[in-house]
Amino acid sequence: MITAELQKSWAASLLEGAAGTAAAPWLEELRGQAGALIDCLPPVNRKQEAWRYTNVEPLLKESFQPVVQRPSGYGGEAPEAIGPHRLVFVDGWFMPELSDTALLPEGVTAGSLDEAIAAGDERVKNRLGSVADPGEHLFAALNTALINDGLFLHLPAGVKLESPVELFWLNSGGDAARLAQPRNLVILEPGAEAVLVEHHLPGAAERYLHNGVTEIVLDPGAKLDHYRIQDESEQAWHLSRIALDQGDGSRYHGITLAFGGRLARTEYHGLFTAEEAACTLRGLYTVGNDQLQDFHLDVRHDVPRCSSREQFKGLLHGKGRAVFDGRILVAQDAQKSDAELTNDNLLLTRNAEVDTKPQLEIYADDVKASHGTTVGQLEADQVFYLRARGIDERRALHMLCEGFAAEIIEHIHLESLREQALARLRQTLGEL
């Protein structure tokens, strides 16, 4: 089991590896506080509810090399994007020569966080670290203690982007396994609207750790569609934390499709502090042999009249394992809240396993809230129906799995991305 010592020494080796990178005093302070926190945080082991079913001990026995300078590339071409706005990151660092931001409207900032900090951008200084709490756990603190590059996206008030901003997270190869640990800051000023697409891909690497934290600030009336396709390598460790701060009348529509990684964890942290805001979180995960997908949601309704919808579905095969921990808290003053949480799992084999735990904590009395969880197998009647119509058993299974997953994928409002997602799903199904 992970001890406080193991946690401390693992983090210390990473912090040491990154030492000597000077930054602005305010950032030094932010990093330093987070670094100091690590020594006080409880170890990420099964004694903690949030880590009860997710064993990261093998991860803490591995060593990784932090990447403290912009790499020269990853040895490949720039990936093809859906639209004109492409931002490529290698080992967590923004790569201007692989990216294309020329057609972004004037006033929109999309690029390197590191550069924005170096340029003394006040918007970054004011908001960085204000949404994501580094004290959440080891990995959140580590990300903050090691802040260097990542995405900085800023839309001025009223700007509505027509094409999606598409991010590609790639990794360079090399002898030592690397730690990519981007810190992302997304700010949409009042009434701004954007679509953000993220592709998490291996690039040239097999073994690496991605430990990303994304802070999203939606000012009143802002709208963000945020699609993430996590397709890391089979040997990769992937940890993502997305923290939201929503102003009144703002809307966040988030979908994560998790296909890759040996251990992948996605955390959503939503906090409603202003009324009439809405947030939908959806996810699809597939797991096979030697794979664990983990989703953690923590959505807090602190004020009245906000709505949240959480819908997650898992397809498990082989000896795949999944963990779903969805928590929605409706505080006493959060009257007229509307919250609905579901988690459905389809187990295609006997050896697959899921631990699912929906939690609804409601302290207000006038709310609409529900939750539901299912864990099941393909229904024999459905398979028979398809076979009786001439469709062979294997194809019938694929169609039913695709149908199951389609209920998440159909919420992607970009047709070309929806097609990509379906093609990726079919790739997994084809291997069954």
């Binding site: 229904e379 024999a380 009647d381 459905q382 028979f384 129906y385 398809l386 076979r387 009786a388 119509r389 001439g390 469709i391 062979d392 058993e393 194809r395 169609m399 039913l400 695709e402 149908g403 199951f404 997953a405 389609a406 209920e407």
Partner: protein, 251 residues
């Protein structure tokens, strides 16, 4: 076309069919009637190849081939179609894609060329018109949230597209109002011809007013105990099943 001899079938160790014999010739329409629990639905599922039905004795030949050795999809390829009493809902599976998948699977198996999206669409629209299935239901998930009548019309649409040699209609009339029943019957009648055979399983005489059978059989306690022409249905309508069961018991 279909020859059933001395068929015995068990479900969960309980014998449901007890020596059933039935011959259906090419181009014939047969109706099987019988009280609840007589084994009507078991017969239809055994013919379609559903799991959970154990054949303990007897044989079923379809165009001379041993049907009982074939997988459900092989039976569909061979030309057997079961219109189900309770069509299954398939959430997330688009109806149009499903229909195309099904038609092309059967065409492939028969060595015919697959239909491309455009010509398939045209054909579906044509047949959907025939069974009065609204266009919007083609875009939805298969049977999901369909009314009882819509589900049955979707079954008949599939039948019309697959053009089976032998269609088994398992209580196709249950839960249908007269208008819906008429539409369903028209769909079936449109497909009737010297090449195709039908086996209707029903509880009620009413269906036979719309789809006229050549032969009627009474199924009770797992066997066919009486066969006859159309007049048998009228007799059943008048007197119920009791008299046949009594005669059978006395014999």
């Amino acid at each position: 076309m279909l020859s059933i001899k001395n068929l015995h079938v068990e479900v969960d160790g309980k014998e449901i069919l007890r020596g059933l014999d039935l011959e259906i010739g090419t181009g014939e329409v047969h109706a099987i009637m019988g009280p609840n629990g007589s084994g009507k639905s078991t017969l239809s599922y055994v013919l379609a190849g559903r799991e959970g039905y154990e054949v303990t004795a007897g044989e079923v030949l379809f165009e001379g081939r041993n049907l009982l050795e074939m997988e459900p999809e092989e039976r569909a390829w061979a030309g057997i179609f079961l219109a189900m009493q309770y069509p299954v809902e398939l959430p997330g599976v688009n109806n149009m894609s499903f229909l195309r998948e099904s038609v092309n699977a059967v065409r492939r198996a028969r060595g015919e060329e697959e239909l491309d999206a455009v010509s398939f669409m045209k054909r579906v629209r044509e047949k959907a018109e025939l069974v009065k299935l609204p266009d919007k239901l083609l875009k939805r998930s298969v049977n999901a949230g369909f009314s009882g009548g819509e589900k049955k019309r979707n079954e008949i649409l599939q039948m019309a597209l697959l053009e089976p040699k032998l269609t088994i209609l398992d209580e196709i009339d249950s839960g249908l109002d007269i208008d819906a029943l008429r539409v369903v019957a028209e769909g079936v009648n449109a497909l009737r011809g010297p090449e195709r055979s039908f086996l209707m399983i029903t509880h009620y005489q009413r269906l036979l007013d719309y789809i006229e059978p050549d032969h009627i059989h009474v199924l009770a306690q797992g066997r066919i105990i009486r066969s006859g022409g159309k007049e048998l249905a009228l007799e059943l309508e008048e007197k119920g099943y009791g008299w046949i069961l009594e005669e059978e018991a006395a014999a």
